[in-house]
């Protein structure tokens, strides 16, 4: 995603931060990257809000009802499961 680490002393720009939030939330950053990102979030309300929006988006997705297989397929599978016991 973003190749530049915290090379400039000022760290990530907002444009870079928005590409790093998933890595951050998944705990996939090095300690240095993580600190640089958190320092940025600490002074930048825009990026802190963006991160919150991503969190909200992910948690709202968890409220979407998952697709389920139709009942007749379940029935057919149950029959196959029973048949498995019979030689």
């Amino acid at each position: 995603m973003v190749e530049r680490p915290q090379e400039p002393a000022s760290g990530y720009t907002c444009r870079e931060v928005v590409e790093l939030v998933t890595e951050y939330l998944d705990g996939a950053m090095t300690p240095g990257e993580r600190a640089a990102l958190e320092v940025h979030l600490n002074y930048c309300d825009g990026c802190a809000t963006f991160l919150e929006q991503i969190r909200t988006s992910a948690s709202l997705a968890g409220g979407v009802a998952p697709e389920q297989i139709p009942e007749d397929v379940t029935e057919a599978l149950r029959a196959a499961f029973r048949a498995r016991r019979e030689p």
Partner: protein, 215 residues
Amino acid sequence: MIGSVEGTGVVSADASLVARLRDGDERAFDEVVSGFSPAMLAVARGYVGARSVAEEVVQEAWLGVLRGLDRFEGRSTLRTWVLRIVANIARDRAVREARSLPFSPSDFEGNDPAVDVRRFRLQTEPYPGGWRSFPSDWRLLPETQVAGRETLDAVREAIAALPDAQRMVVTLRDVLGCPAEEVCEALDLTPGNQRVLLHRARARVRAHLERHFDG
């Protein structure tokens, strides 16, 4: 969610479930069918597209699971093992139908910014790469609006419109709550590639919600 992988040993919660299935316990079977099928459908649809075809794939996969149950060694969780079976069957089906497969290099390459680049300051401006104006704080919206039915419809719409690979990953991760490691193992994705897809998917869902909330 069932169990977690401990090294390569049999997962304890899984072990008793597998034992019940091998014993022919129908309630255990109902439990896994209703528990795993949504994730299986998500995987199948990522390869074959149409819901009806995906249902056939899931059914075929379950029959494969029943045939293979005695060979299951618990090297992964039961669900991961089942998802790998679905992915294989779905991939074969997609190949037979000459559909393009998800996880091609084009799914990971290229520049697909999470946020429209015009929302950031140019290199020639003060604070290059900074926001022109901050995104709005959804925590200030009424709770009923944020978690309301229309919002969930918007999320569903946004997910449905995603490219196959992104839709598959975000459905497994965020809709169904599968851990990253399981998604990687089930779909043969590297952690980095899994994250690229999840990130792009979440970014698009966020952008869709932003239009939904901000009008």
